[in-house]
């Protein structure tokens, strides 16, 4: 073995080891922790236990926490658990590989795990009527972004974890909610227009609340559950003896990575509405004299006097909270009285933050109503059936191919089979890295790439056989076989790769999923056939005593 071959061996083994690690969170057992409420009865626990009685789940009970271990634990199941009686919370624990390597796991699409998919569009016609002119493409994009911000603000009302809300093109918004139990409730939450208001913050009670929060809730994360949040707010109000004229609400901040908003800390607000959302006419992102990014706004004539009142000298230094759907999204200080009907909100914004705030303010000025243009809900049992049947078919098909190639190519078939297994591991590892969502069309793409991986081996072996028939030595036959098959495999796969690229670049949703698995699958199969398998055969051909190649 040459030095180069030695390094190649190390390289291949390292890649295999890394890939196996990366797919552990996806294919390994997953752990879900179910926290029970104090009022949970033995009957409740029995119902939960029954739910996991089939399918090889491991169930342990420890005080108020139930732990379920199994391969088939999905976000949909987690969200379903949350709706069970006696369950306070359910969450899937991160696999250690996810924590250590920051790896992701392959998520199942809603067609495979059950859930609700919605695609929404702002009612552009209605807005055009209201403002009396046709909307430009840029307007539509901006309106869609505004609606997106509004939806993020009410994501908690959907009652699910791991929701996904994202724009599709510049005119529509896609929402994916795994395992949602009450589709009608979701539609209702989307259908209501947002309520935006500006209310003064009471510093004294906010400080008291902050103190209480610091003492009692220091490191704890505020629950996602709206009910639990309300209970917590009531508890704080009581603790600081909040007067009737005030209300305790959370300040929410947007997670820059996920776009999801989370409650951060409580603030005490006057119940009285200082300025209504409709009192402000427009909001834009601008720069002030200091070249700082600010949100500039203009009020309606009626709003100007209200704003002047709210920012009167006696309120100077206080905060004016911007409240959207009972969530405080921003609370700028009042620096000076604004009586001209135009003002700035400054605060060392990054451009994105300023855009978000401007959109929130606009939501008060021009509420966007949304209509559902596409809706798909898959029940959890149907999704479960699909994935089980799919996996079973894939396994049987694979075993069949293994036996077939063993029978036909003997030892060569064994190498091909190992190559196929590597192929699958590598593809899953790359999809894990991408945090890919696997849907049925995705499985189709995977299948096609697997067929092409088999094809690559067949092409190579048939070539080697031809060379052997011509009377070439084993070593030469192997080298020629791989060399000649290289361009065939390269050309045929690259053509398919081109098609996959087009589908990925311009396709939507399910087609994109197909394209990604196909694309990744083809690249991996080329790597395995032309690099890994070839290397194995180069090692074999070093054996000068070999008389016959088992093919």
């Amino acid at each position: 073995m040459t030095k180069g071959m030695f390094y190649k061996t190390i390289f291949i083994i390292a890649i295999i080891a890394l890939s196996v690690l990366l797919i552990l969170p996806t294919v390994g057992t997953k752990k879900m922790e179910i926290t029970l409420t104090d009022a949970a009865t033995a009957g409740n626990i029995e119902t939960i236990r029954k739910k996991f009685s089939e399918g090889g789940y491991k169930f342990t009970e420890k005080g108020k926490v139930l732990t379920v271990e199994g391969r088939n634990i999905t976000d949909a199941i987690m969200n379903e658990m949350k709706t069970f009686d006696g369950v306070a919370d359910a969450k899937i624990l991160k696999h250690w590989v996810e924590r250590v390597f920051l790896a992701k796991k392959i998520n199942l699409g809603l067609d495979l795990q059950g859930g609700m998919y919605l695609s929404l569009q702002a009612n552009f016609d209605g807005i055009e009527k209201k403002i009396g002119r046709t909307l430009t493409e840029a307007d539509k994009t901006e309106i869609t972004q505004q609606a997106l911000e509004l939806l993020r603000n009410r994501i908690d009302k959907f009652g699910v974890s791991e929701p996904s809300i994202r724009p599709r093109g510049n005119e529509a918004i896609e929402i994916q909610l795994p395992g949602v139990k009450d589709p009608a409730g979701v539609k209702k939450a989307i259908g209501t227009t947002g309520s935006l208001e500006y209310r003064l913050v009471d510093d004294k009670y906010t400080e008291a609340a902050a103190m209480w929060f610091k003492n009692n809730y220091k490191d704890k994360q505020i629950s996602d559950d709206p009910e639990a949040q309300k209970t917590l707010l009531d508890e704080i109000s009581k603790a600081v003896a909040l007067p009737d004229t005030m209300e305790m609400l959370f300040f929410w901040e947007r997670d820059k990575n996920t776009g999801v908003i989370k409650p951060l800390y409580p603030m005490a607000l006057l119940k009285e509405i200082a300025v209504k959302g409709t009192d402000i006419k427009e909001a834009t992102v601008d720069r002030d004299e200091m070249q700082q990014i600010v949100v500039a706004f203009k009020t309606t004539p009626e709003g100007a006097s209200k704003f002047a009142q709210a920012t009167a000298p006696e309120n100077k230094g206080k905060k004016l909270a911007i409240v959207l759907d009972n969530k405080i999204r921003n609370a700028p200080h009042i620096n000076e009285t604004i009586s001209s009907g135009a003002g700035n909100i400054s605060g060392g914004f990054a451009y994105d933050e300023a855009m978000t705030l401007a959109r929130i303010i606009k939501e008060g000025a021009l509420p966007v109503d949304l209509k559902i243009v596409e809706e798909r809900t898959v029940g959890p049992s149907l999704g479960q059936d699909s994935i089980e049947a799919g996996v079973k078919a894939f396994a049987i098909g694979l075993i069949g191919i293994f036996i077939f190639s063993l029978a036909y190519y003997k030892l060569g078939g064994l190498f091909a089979d190992i190559g196929l297994i590597l192929n699958i591991i590598f593809v899953l590892a790359i999809l894990s890295l991408l945090g890919f969502t696997l849907t049925l069309p995705g499985i189709a793409g995977f299948l096609l790439s697997t067929a092409m991986a088999v094809d690559a081996n067949v092409l190579i072996y048939e070539r080697i056989k031809e060379e052997l028939k011509k009377g070439k030595s084993i070593r030469i036959a192997i080298i020629n076989g791989f060399d000649r098959a290289f361009w065939t495999i390269f050309d045929s796969n690259l053509t398919t790769l081109l098609a996959a690229f087009i589908l990925f670049q311009y396709g939507t949703g399910p087609i994109k999923g197909f394209a990604v698995t196909l694309f990744v699958g083809i690249i991996v199969s080329m790597f395995v056939a032309l690099y890994v398998t070839r290397f194995v055969y180069e090692l074999i051909s070093l054996n000068k005593k070999m008389k016959k190649l088992s093919l």
Binding site: T377, I396, I401, A444
Partner: protein
């Protein structure tokens, strides 16, 4: 010396056969009533529902929902009594007067307010609160019309479950209306009077829920008409773009004649596979689109393997004719063609038999498509290259 099979001997006959075959498929499709577009591409509603009532069958559901003009198909394990019910948009959302509407349903409290407004145009709503649960409301309304009283308001809202009470302030004609919208059907799932979703779906579910106890909605889909059109257009655009790009690559890596052969055989595959879906009455949806794209990918792959061999054999500059070069190339790659084809077919057969309902149509179209794709590489792509070569050298 190895024997070369003369694949191209009957190429003219096979050419005629191909076109006759396509014509037969298309005629059969027309006889069946044309292509069936899935709701993904035309818009509409699709429900998968299972019924506990064993008397339910396709005909019964069709009769019950005849106003919606649905297609009903039993699927899966017969013991589950499961059906796919599909309605196309143009029929599903017709209102009582037969006017097609794609409007969205109103939200429940709006619906109620609208009803009151229609009877008492001068009504003003003083206050609306959510009740104890999400589906109940407490609406305070003032009536200018003195004829409004508890009984008449209740009568106006007879479609809803409401209680009406005059407010304590007797000097004005003000009433508090308590409305509860939840209409628990017998299965316990909620069928409500209206949401902002497309109306048709809610009406469909309502009609099923009212008639049968023990209806389980496994999945429901609604695709709006605009989205359907968008998906249809983008599917065409993508397929064409992919074909053009692949042709350019072939012209660049091989020669132009191969590019022609590849394109013709791909178009051949497209026509036949789509016609096959038509003959079998397979609904053309996103999943089928994925199957078609997959088999085009397979077919072009198969074609290029043969082209690659033709190019290689041709470069040897022997004295044999181009037709013989092609025959030789096909013969040499035959074992590979069969081996790969058989393994792929086997995997698809397994998928078809045990892959579950969701992959059933996909696997079925693929099974047929792989055979066609393999056939077209040998009998469409290669002869076209030969014809093109002959035509050019004339």
């Amino acid at each position: 010396m190895e024997r070369t099979i003369n694949f191209l001997k009957y190429k003219n006959w096979i050419f005629i056969f191909t076109w006759v075959f396509i014509a037969v498929l298309l005629v059969l499709t027309m006889l069946r009533g044309g292509f069936v577009w899935g709701i993904d591409f035309v818009g509409g509603h699709k429900i998968i529902a299972s019924f506990e009532d064993k008397n339910v069958n396709e005909g019964v559901i069709r009769t019950l929902l005849k106003d919606f003009n649905p297609t009903v198909q039993q699927v899966g394990d017969p013991s589950k009594n499961e059906y796919i019910i599909t309605t196309k948009l143009e029929t599903a959302d017709k209102n009582k007067d037969g006017v097609a509407s794609t409007s969205t349903c109103l939200i429940k409290d709006d619906l109620l307010k609208r009803t009151l407004f229609e009877k008492y145009p001068l009504v003003s709503f003083v206050n609306i609160e959510n009740g104890v649960d999400q589906d109940s409301y407490r609406i305070t309304a003032q009536f200018k019309d003195s004829s409004a009283n508890e009984a008449s308001i209740k009568d106006a809202l007879n479609a809803y479950n409401v209680t009406v009470q005059r407010s304590a302030n007797q000097s004005i004609n003000e009433y508090i209306i308590m409305a509860s919208f939840t209409q628990k059907d017998k299965t316990g799932s909620q069928v409500a009077a209206g949401y902002i979703g497309q109306c048709g779906l809610e009406h469909l579910k309502l009609a099923l829920g009212q008639k049968y106890s023990g209806v389980h909605i496994e999945s429901e889909e609604t695709v709006g008409p605009a989205i359907g059109e968008y998906l249809r257009k983008s599917a065409w655009k993508l397929t064409l773009m992919a074909i053009i790009l692949m042709s350019i690559y072939l012209a660049f890596r091989f020669e132009f004649k191969y590019s022609v052969g590849g394109m013709v055989s791909l178009i051949h595959d497209m026509i036949i596979s789509i016609a096959f879906c038509g003959v079998m009455g397979i609904e053309f949806d996103i999943q089928i689109l994925a199957a078609l794209l997959t088999l085009y990918g397979y077919s072009i792959n198969d074609t290029i393997v043969i082209f690659d061999r033709i190019r290689e054999t041709n470069q040897l500059k022997s004295k044999i004719t181009f037709a013989d070069v092609i025959n030789k190339a096909i013969t040499q790659t035959l074992s590979r063609t069969i081996l790969t084809g058989v393994t792929t077919l086997f995997a698809l057969l397994v998928l078809f038999l045990v892959g579950g309902e969701a992959l059933h149509n996909f696997a079925f179209v693929m099974l047929f498509g792989i055979i066609i794709g393999t056939y077209s590489s040998v009998y469409v792509a290669s002869p076209v290259v030969l014809w093109w070569e002959k035509w050019r050298s004339r």
